[in-house]
Point group: C2
Chain length 349, copies 2
DNA sequence: GTTCAGCACTCACTAGAGTGGAGTGCTAAC
DNA sequence: GTTAGCACTCCACTCTAGTGAGTGCTGAAC
């Protein structure tokens, strides 16, 4: 509950009282989802004037685009710009309640095993904490260096290329040979592949591992190299984990909105690039139409990079209605993002 | 569009005309989602009587529990029992249209690479074909035999146990040692693990691999064995892929229903056991409350086992409203399930 | 005894009128 | 600049028909 004392706010052309009124409207609307009338605001901190004065201020805020009216003679609801101002200048830092902190601690105390499973569960945790739909983009494996390369025979002409990365991820690619290949040749080829690629990050495989031709004239190795290079290229597809999509159904009462939002969430590529775009613009919150994805116009997205060993490599996203609880979402994303980053850093050491 | 000629139907105590009427009501209601009146039914095949007669038959069908009225003076809608009769006795075999068949063919022509990715996309395909939410439970790896066991050092005291199974799946488990372990000891231990477990299905690891104590007194091996046994046990968690959950939002107009269905879908364990339960009871369709999951009372579930090399090992599920297109869903599940099974059989050879 | 036209009846749905209330904008006075 | 007062707006709700799709029943015809 961010209080608004007069000293802090006089920002971006809004005087203290207007800011306090905007703050009160946003806060109340987030809670009630009902248009907020002037009467509801007079008791808010920083607003010690009559409702008539509040009304005139509200009219000014509406002229300036911070508030809107669903219709004459209704209360005001915040516009995207209003939420933006709230997030940038009014909302306090926000924090998890003690229950939430406990939940996070317990989660990471018990998290272990497979990375993917942990990320999946992290999305569930975030959804629980914030009542938003959570998106977790697994740390891109592109920068993780190759720890091990193996070829496992799966049949006379088939093998599986298994690459273990330093962050604990395992990539695989099935290979088909034109001829029968025995285990000896496989392990020879695996050795050669390893010699070329061990210690390289996946991204650099294309650049650093000679495509073929070299002295490694062996056909099996050549096929292996091709598969390895394919892995490096194909893995642009970071894995996305979406948790708590049912929360979107709770957030809107127009079933049509729910449907279109869910449709977006099903498109991994769209979501991943959306999150990346938002991060790239330097925002940590994208409100309404700021992100340009039209079906999500009534949503806001909180993003938080996840740093592994100091490198921003994963992303956390929280999707909710524009009237979501921004301070809570930001706090949860920050806390969980930090812990997750730590955890992943440990794992990749 | 299953036609109903008099010869075929006289089943379970329903005379031909009543069956034809029930058939018409179900078919029309599936299409329109509106209660069906007697007038709409008179032109249906097998019903060449007046609306008055239809009405009296409908009243009988209602007495017998096949139809229900939302209120007096409204048309009839099918009950769960009505759908059940429709599915068991009235619905023709159903088939994909040519577009759908093409889609399936193209999909499996182009499907390649990682199993998980293919399963995920299969769920999307099914959702597209049927307009239902699709659930694909990956073939359990429990019966796949171990093709390769490796220990990859990830740090002085850490390693990753990487197990490749015959079906192309790769399982991993991170391991922490009490002491520093060099690569030599790791590969020694990996060799011993392999000697014990190669060719065993994961399920049998617990039974067949001596827990420890044996001659394999080596500490590293002991830890490895423990991890391996853990893998065998932990992997009860088959992977579930859910595609097209947005279709549930299109199927219902009560947002509350959508929310509760989505909440169920988020619980992997619930969904997997639900599908298994339905299969175990020998059904291929569970309608309404037949499956006992209360929030899904207005849904029906079509299940289809996926056989890999003749063994039923995976499951396909389609979730839709009780007024879903059963023939289409059954046909799509069968076709895709068959192709998927073939595909997985090839891969595990 | 099945079928069916006719008929009275039911009840959701819609439109229109009236009402209450929450909210506004304006204005004149402090 | 602030505010009390006031007229005004418009949604949300209720009430009242009116409509129409649908029913169940009945008595006659086959």
């Amino acid at each position: 509950m961010p209080t608004t004392d007069d000293s802090r706010i006089d920002t971006a052309g809004l005087d203290a009282r207007k800011a306090a009124i905007l703050n009160a409207v946003v806060t109340e609307y987030i809670g009630s989802a009902q248009p907020v009338g002037s009467q509801h605001v007079v008791d808010a901190p920083g607003v010690s004037v009559s409702s008539a004065t509040v009304r005139s201020d509200m009219a000014a805020l509406e002229r300036d685009g911070f508030l809107a009216q669903p219709h004459t003679s209704a209360g005001r609801i915040p516009t995207d710009k209003g939420y933006r101002f709230f997030v940038d200048h009014l909302a306090g830092p926000g924090s998890l309640d003690s229950g939430g902190r406990l939940q996070v601690r317990q989660f990471f105390d018990h998290a272990h095993g497979e990375i993917e499973q942990m990320l999946e569960r992290t999305s569930g945790l975030l959804a629980d904490l914030t009542d938003c739909t959570a998106m977790v983009v697994g740390p891109s494996h592109e920068s993780a260096v190759i720890r091990s390369v193996q070829l496992v025979g799966m049949g006379p002409r088939q093998a599986l290329l298994v690459v273990v990365l330093a962050d604990g991820a395992v990539q695989k690619q099935s290979i088909e040979f034109g001829e029968e290949v025995d285990d000896g040749r496989l392990s020879d080829a695996a050795g050669r592949l390893a010699a070329h690629s061990l210690g390289l990050p996946l991204t650099q495989v294309r650049a650093k591992v000679p495509s073929t031709g070299d002295r490694s004239t062996d056909a099996v190795t050549a096929v292996g190299v091709r598969a390895l290079r394919a892995l490096g290229a194909a893995d642009g597809g970071e894995h996305l984990f979406v948790g708590g999509s049912s929360r979107m159904a709770a957030a809107f009462d127009a079933v049509e909105t729910v449907r279109s939002v869910l449709t977006i969430l099903e498109q991994q590529l769209v979501v991943v690039t959306l999150l990346r775009d938002i991060l790239d613009t330097g925002l940590s919150v994208a409100i309404g139409t700021e992100h340009g994805v039209e079906p999500l116009a009534s949503c806001a997205i909180v993003v938080m990079p996840v740093s592994v060993d100091g490198v921003e490599t994963g992303t956390i996203g929280l999707l909710g209605p524009t009237r979501m609880n921004y301070p809570l979402a930001l706090a949860a994303a920050r806390v969980v993002g930090d812990r997750l980053g730590q955890r992943l850093s440990e794992a990749s050491r």
